[in-house]
């Protein structure tokens, strides 16, 4: 899952970005409103964490521009403005959630996870595909009754495929939702991680889950 953090107060921005990264999200961050708008309109983020009082372009203007351009990226407003009018205005302008500073990092992570799931119409934090189960809260994965240990990047690729289970997901899609904007990697690395996942999830006595769609990408699905 890829998240954009637009927050001008550096200590908060750094802490939120670090926490999200440690939770397995790919995070882009900026402290400038104009740059934030450019990031948000140039990439396909699962969630945008947006401060309201920003230099350059303020958060509500960014939100309006996103919605005006038809982007449905889920936006979590993070602000010190706590009046009912502020919340109503933010939500009416198209925000999906609203969190007032100071906040508990755990709550922020939970809200970001919920918004990320909502992006793929998944309400249950446990995603099940055939005998594969993924707990998006604890980042645990089981195949049948056996827990499978994955690295953060492997988990990120699998979670994205699972959220789009049954669909054909291109390498670019996977790359864009798993890697940060500044990541020094190319889409071939996706194939490498698919290989790692297959080794850990599949065996001779277990049916394959990750199917290669030649010329398009991959699809996670159980045996038909």
């Amino acid at each position: 899952m890829r998240v954009l953090v637009v927050e001008d107060y550096a200590p908060i921005r750094k802490a939120v970005a670090k926490s999200l990264r440690e939770a397995g999200f790919a995070v882009d961050e900026t402290g400038d409103g104009e740059e934030g708008l450019w990031y948000a309109t140039s990439n396909d983020y699962d969630v945008v964490v947006l401060d309201l009082m920003l230099p350059g372009v303020d958060g509500l203007a960014i939100l309006q521009r996103l919605r005006a351009e038809g982007l449905v990226t889920h936006v979590l407003i993070l602000t010190a403005r706590d009046t009912v009018q502020d919340r109503v205005r933010g939500l009416d302008l198209g925000a999906d959630d609203y969190l007032v500073k100071p906040f508990a990092m755990e709550e922020l992570l939970a809200r970001v996870r919920a918004l990320a799931r909502r992006a793929y119409c998944a309400k249950n934090p446990v995603i099940a595909v055939s005998d594969l189960r993924i707990d998006t809260t604890t980042k645990q994965v089981w195949r049948g009754n056996d827990e499978v240990t994955l690295t953060a990047r492997e988990y990120a690729v699998l979670e994205y495929l699972a959220l789009r289970a049954g669909e054909v997901v291109t390498r670019t899609d996977i790359w864009e939702h798993v890697y940060e904007f500044t990541a020094d990697a190319d889409s071939n690395v996706v194939d490498v991680y698919i290989g790692y996942l297959r080794k850990k999830l599949e065996s001779a006595d277990l049916p394959p889950l990750i199917h290669t769609i030649r010329g398009s990408g991959y699809s996670l699905r159980g045996p038909s």
Partner: protein, 475 residues
């Protein structure tokens, strides 16, 4: 004395009414008593004159020829009248049979005429007498020998009827007075209550004002004209209180709002640091970050405290003659490096003779805020001008800088607490929108005024300060 207006009014009204009633009753009593007594006296005098006509001088002898049969009042069985006649030598000449041999008290007056007195009758009852002292007529005046002899005739009557009438009058007047006072008490209580009802209305209106809503006002529309000034003053006080509480609420809300950002940063940084076991270097970084945040928050609270003290007029002011150039130079000194790094042109045109009367510390605070502002917000390579003009007993100090990106209409807001040209809180603790507020408050505290204008990208702040008297200017 009680402090209750109601009781005081009642006491004064009832006391006044009682004094008036008693005075009135006394006057009525006196008039009636005099009238009855005069009537009684007139009857006695008339009787005495009638009897005197029956006393004649015959030569040297005084002849009393009173036939009681013609005067039934002396023969009544109950409460008869009495008379007695004495010669000038004190010899008793005649007396009524009703005296039954007893004597009436006489008077030792030597003057002629009629006068009246109270006396005790022989039967012990109280009475009143007319004393007539006269020279009896003679049958033949030529036969009168020697000096005319005077006789004293006393006619007395008991005063039981008169006393009874006076007692009745006393009762009537006493009861009338008491009754009138009682009725006055009731009427006064009703009138006072009615009269003070507007006070009750005002009290109810005041009681309805809640501590959390000072926008309510006491209506003066239907109040008597005497109470309107009081209510107007009260409403003025409420308005001032509302404004003061509003300012305080706004200040508290602003302060809390401003402190949220560093608090959020602190909490986030600590939570992330504690979220999992980390290397020592990561903890050091987190602690350094927290220290920086705390320093920013401290700077913010210091400024908040300064604003609060300034608004609460808790700042001590020591006015003195201050050379403006000296303080301007002092204000710019910390920014020398910034000016160099940002290639700013600083032009100071402040004559050394320009001097004002001000608290040096507050003036430095105000000018430092302007210098900091100009050093930070002037466009790189831009120009800052500082001028001072002495005219009309004031010194006008102006700071102008290029590169202002604010709109002209923003000029009115630059002195507002926590107002920033950019809503960003990224520089919390460094730029928190209090510098110009403090500058304005400082200038006003030393008796000056501050204004700002924005014209074609040039930001001007103007301080008008009280000039030092010419003979005290430091050259």
């Amino acid at each position: 004395m009680t402090q209750s207006i109601r009781v005081r009014l009642l006491v004064w009204v009832i006391g006044g009414m009682a004094v008036l009633q008693i005075g009135f009753a006394t006057v009525v009593y006196e008039v009636m008593e005099r009238s009855l007594r005069d009537g009684f006296n007139a009857v006695l005098a008339s009787s005495a004159r009638t009897l005197s006509s029956a006393i004649e001088q015959d030569g040297q002898r005084i002849k009393v020829d009173i036939d009681e049969r013609e005067f039934p009042e002396f023969r009544r069985a109950r409460h008869p009248d009495y008379f007695q006649v004495w010669s000038e030598s004190g010899e008793m000449l005649a007396r009524s049979s009703s005296l039954k041999g007893a004597d009436l008290q006489t008077a030792e007056s030597l003057r002629e005429g009629t006068f009246f007195r109270r006396l005790r009758l022989p039967d012990g009852r109280g009475g009143r007498a007319a004393v007539l002292r006269f020279v009896p007529k003679a049958d033949d005046e030529s036969s009168r020998i020697g000096t005319p002899a005077r006789v004293t005739l006393v006619v007395a009557r008991d005063t039981a009827a008169l006393d009874s009438e006076m007692a009745l009058l006393t009762w009537i007047l006493s009861l009338g007075t008491i009754g009138t006072i009682a009725v006055s008490l009731v009427l006064a209580a009703v009138i006072v209550r009615q009269g003070l009802r507007p006070l009750d209305v005002v009290a109810a209106d005041i009681a309805a004002i809640r501590q959390d809503d000072l926008s309510a006002r006491v209506s003066a529309a239907r109040l008597p004209s005497e109470l309107r000034p009081v209510v107007q003053r009260l409403n003025d006080l409420l308005r001032r209180l509302e404004e003061a509480f509003g300012r305080e609420r706004s200040f508290t809300a602003d302060a809390a709002h401003e402190l949220r950002t560093p608090l959020a940063g602190l909490r986030s940084t600590l939570e992330v640091a504690l979220a999992r076991p980390r290397e020592g270097g990561e903890y050091r970084d987190a602690l350094a970050e927290c220290l920086a945040i705390v320093q920013q928050a401290q700077a913010l609270t210091d400024q908040l405290l300064a604003v609060a003290r300034m608004e609460g007029r808790q700042t001590l002011i020591a006015p003195e003659v201050v050379a403006v150039r000296e303080v301007v130079d002092q204000a710019w000194r910390p920014h020398a490096e910034t000016i160099r790094n940002r290639r700013l042109t600083l032009a100071i045109d402040v004559p050394p003779s320009a001097a004002c009367v001000a608290d040096r510390g507050l003036l430095l605070l105000a000018l430092s805020a302007l210098a900091t502002n100009a050093a930070e917000y002037t466009d790189a390579g831009g120009r800052v001008e500082v001028t001072a003009v002495v005219a009309n007993a004031s010194v006008t100090v102006t700071f102008s800088n290029t590169g202002c990106r604010l709109r002209p209409e923003n000029a009115a807001q630059v002195f507002k607490r926590f107002w920033r040209g950019d809503a960003s809180r990224g520089q919390t603790g460094v730029h928190c929108g209090l510098g110009l507020t403090l500058a304005q408050q400082s200038v006003e505290a030393i008796g000056g005024s501050a204004s700002a204008s924005i014209d074609n990208g040039i930001f001007n702040v103007c301080f008008i300060l009280p000039a030092a008297p010419p003979n005290r200017v430091v050259s």
